[in-house]
C-alpha cells in the first residue's frame, strides 16, 4: 500500500498514522447456521411460552452471538445491553401499537394524531436507538458510541426527507446519502471517529440502476401479462369452450406472476442495499484507517436469491441460516487497512442510553444494517 492512496483517504489532514506501514485486517464471522438455529428456535419457543417477556433476553443472546462471532485482528466484538432495558422498550412499543390499533378502529382521527406524534418522535427514537446499540457494543474492552446531536437527527431524519416529497422523489438518493453520512460519521470507537466520504453521485447511481432494472423488468412483465390476458379474452370471445375453463388457471398464473414480481422487487431492493453498504464502507475510515468492502453485484444477487429460496422452501425455518449467511457475506468481504495496527486508539467515557428508541425503531422497521 502506498502513500498516495493514504493521502486520498484523508485528503485534508495528513494523519500521523498515515506514515506507518499498513496492515490489511480482515473481518471474519465464525457463526454456524446449525448452532444459531438451535439458539434461535429455543429462544423463540421460550419467548412464546413466556408470552414474549423472555424475548428481551432472547434478543440479547442473539446479538451477543453475532457480535461474539465477529472477529477483527484476532479479537471479537461483544454486546452489553441489559435485557430489562429492552423489555421496557418493548412494553412502551406494545402500548403504542395497541393504542394505535384500538384507536384506528374506534377513532381514526385520534389514531392519525398518534401517528403524527410517532413521526415527530422518530428522529429521537433513532437517535436513542443508535446510542443504545453502539454504546453497548465493545471491541477489545473499549466501547463504541454514537455522538450525533439530537438536532442533527431531526435535520437529517425528518427535515431533509421532506425534500423527497417536494422534489417528487428526485431528491431521495440525496436524502439517503445525508442520512447515511449522519449515522456513520457520528460513530466512535473509543476516541477514534468513524466517517464516510460516500458521495451523493454514488447514491444516485445505485438508485438509478435499481429503478432501471425495475422498470425494464416491469415492462417485460407487463407485455407478457397483456399478451396472456389478450389470448384468454380472445378465446372467450370467439366462444372456444377452453376459454372459460382457462379462467381458474389464469387466476393461478396471475397469483404466481404477482409473487414473482414481489420477489423480484425484494431482490432488487436487497441487492441495491448491499451495493450501497459496499460504497459506504469503501469510503469509510476510522481515524485514518481505511475500510474496504469487496461486495460485487452478481455475488450479491446470488446471495439474496439463495436466501429467498431457502426461506420459501423451509417456510421460514431457514431464517437462522439466512442470518448467519448474511453476517458471513458482509463481514468476509470487509477489511480494515490499519496503519500501524489499532495501537493508539484509546477509550473515552460514554454512558449508554435506554432501549426504548431501539425497540420502537425496530418495530417500525428502520434498518440501518450497520
Amino acid at each position: 500500500m502506498n502513500e498516495a492512496e493514504q493521502q486520498m483517504a484523508v485528503p485534508d489532514q495528513p494523519d500521523p498514522v498515515a506514515q506507518l506501514p499498513v496492515h490489511r485486517l480482515d473481518f471474519h464471522f465464525h457463526g454456524q447456521g446449525g448452532e444459531y438455529f438451535r439458539i434461535w428456535i429455543v429462544n423463540l419457543a421460550l419467548s412464546i411460552i413466556t408470552l414474549s417477556i423472555y424475548s428481551a433476553w432472547a434478543k440479547v443472546r442473539a446479538l451477543r452471538y453475532f457480535y461474539g462471532n465477529t472477529e477483527l485482528a484476532g479479537s471479537r466484538f461483544d454486546f452489553h445491553g441489559r435485557p430489562t432495558a429492552i423489555l421496557i422498550g418493548r412494553l412502551v412499543m406494545l402500548t403504542f401499537v395497541v393504542a394505535y390499533v384500538a384507536l384506528s378502529n374506534v377513532a381514526p382521527l385520534a389514531a392519525l394524531g398518534l401517528m403524527l406524534v410517532l413521526v415527530l418522535a422518530s428522529p429521537w427514537l433513532v437517535w436513542r436507538s443508535m446510542k443504545f446499540r453502539l454504546g453497548n457494543t465493545s471491541y477489545r474492552n473499549i466501547r463504541l458510541g454514537f455522538t450525533g446531536s439530537l438536532g442533527g437527527a431531526y435535520k437529517y431524519l425528518l427535515l431533509t426527507p421532506l425534500l423527497t416529497i417536494v422534489s417528487f422523489g428526485l431528491a431521495f438518493p440525496f436524502v439517503q446519502q445525508r442520512m447515511a453520512r449522519y449515522l456513520i460519521s457520528n460513530v466512535r470507537y473509543g476516541d477514534a471517529r468513524l466517517s464516510t466520504q460516500v458521495s451523493v453521485g454514488e447514491f444516485y447511481i445505485v438508485y438509478l440502476a435499481m429503478l432501471g432494472v425495475l422498470m425494464g423488468g416491469g415492462m417485460v412483465t407487463g407485455i407478457v401479462v397483456a399478451l396472456g390476458g389478450a389470448a384468454v379474452v380472445a378465446s372467450i370471445h370467439t366462444g372456444l369452450p377452453a376459454g372459460r375453463e382457462l379462467l381458474p388457471a389464469l387466476f393461478v398464473a396471475g397469483a404466481i406472476v404477482y409473487l414473482l414480481v414481489l420477489a423480484a422487487y425484494f431482490l432488487v431492493a436487497r441487492v441495491g442495499m448491499s451495493m450501497l453498504q459496499q460504497m459506504i464502507w469503501n469510503k469509510a475510515d476510522l481515524a485514518g484507517h481505511r475500510f474496504e468492502s469487496r461486495i460485487r453485484v452478481w455475488p450479491a444477487v446470488r446471495f439474496h436469491l439463495v436466501n429467498i429460496g431457502l426461506l420459501i422452501a423451509t417456510l421460514g425455518l431457514a431464517w437462522a441460516w439466512v442470518k448467519v449467511r448474511g453476517a458471513r457475506f458482509r463481514l468476509e468481504n470487509l477489511s480494515l487497512h490499519a496503519s500501524g495496527g489499532l495501537t493508539g486508539i484509546s477509550a473515552v467515557a460514554a454512558a449508554p442510553g435506554g432501549a426504548v428508541g431501539e425497540e420502537m425503531a425496530e418495530m417500525f422497521d428502520f434498518d440501518f444494517a450497520l
Binding site: 429455543v42 419457543a45 471479537r76 473499549i142 420477489a263 495501537t343
Partner: protein, 337 residues
Amino acid sequence: MLGALYYDGLHADAQPVELTRTDALLQMRIGDETRSWPLASLVIRPAVGMIPCRVELPDGGLLEIADVEQARAFFHQPRSWVERLEAHWRFALLSVLTTVAALAAAYVWGLPWAADRASVLVPQAWEQKLGSETLSALDEHWFTASSLPAARQQALRDQFARRLALPANCCQLLFRRGGAIGANALALPGGTLLVTDELVALARDDEEILAVLAHETGHIQGRHSVRMLLRASGVGVSIALLTGDVGTLGSVLTSAPAMLMQLSYSREFEEEADAAALRSLVAAGIAPCRFSDILNRMTAKKSATQSIPRWLTTHPDTARRTKAFGAACPAAPMVKL
C-alpha cells in the same frame, strides 16, 4: 494453564497472557509480571454458542478466552439452563413443535377470542357507516332497483317485523334486483338486510322468505361482519408482530393467509346464524323445514346458472346445514299469508 487475551480497557491493544488458578485466586502472567484477583471478584459473562469466554476483572480489565469449553473447565463453570437447551438438537425439535403448536392455538382460539372481545368496542355509528358504504358499492356494481310493487315490499316488511319479533331498532329491510347475484339475501353491517327480487320470486310463499331473513338476522344480531373484519385485521396484525423480525418478506406474506383464513371464519358464522334462525323460526311458529326447502332451491338454482370457483363459496354444504332444520316439508300446500 490457559492462554487468553488481556485488554486493559484503556487502549485498543490485545496482550497475550497466561492464566493459572488456585482454589480462591486467578493469576495472570503478563510479560514478566504476575497479577492476581480473588475468583469471587470476577464476572464471567454468559456464553452463547461457541463465542469466546469473557471474564471481567475488578480493575476494568477484560480477559478473552478463545475456547469456551476450556474456559468452562478452568473456572468450573457449569452451563446455564438456557445454554443446555440451546446445545441439543432434541430441544431444538421440541421448540419447533412448541412454536408451531402455539401459532396454531393462537390462530384457532386466541385470535377469534381477542377479536370478539374487541368487537364490543366498535361503536354503532362506525358499523352503520360501513354498512352504507358497502350498500352503495353493491348498488354501483351489482344491484339495480327492485321491480317489486311498493305495497308488496311493505307487506313483507310488516310480516318480517311482526312474526320474527325483532327488537325495535334491529333491522331495515331493502329490496333490489339481484342480477348476477341471483336469488339471495345479504346482511350488511349496521342492520340492513337486502333481499333480491329473484329470491322473492323463487320462494313458494312468504314463510320461506322469512326463513331466509331469520338466518340473515342471525348474522346481524351476532354482529358477524364486524367480528369478521376484526378477525381478518387481527390475523394481519398478529402476523406483522410475529414476523417483525423477518421484515420485508413478512409484509409480502401477510395479506394472502388473512384472506384464506376468512373462509373458515365465515363458515363458523354461517352455522351460528343457522342456529339463530332455527330458534327464531320455532319461536315464530314457522316450520323449520321451510328453511331447508328454500335453501335447497337456492343452491340448485345457483349451481345451474353459475360456475363460481369452489374455493370462493363460503357457505357450508347445504345437506349438512339443513339437517338441523329437518327434511323437506310435507308436500301439502301451505296457506299463503
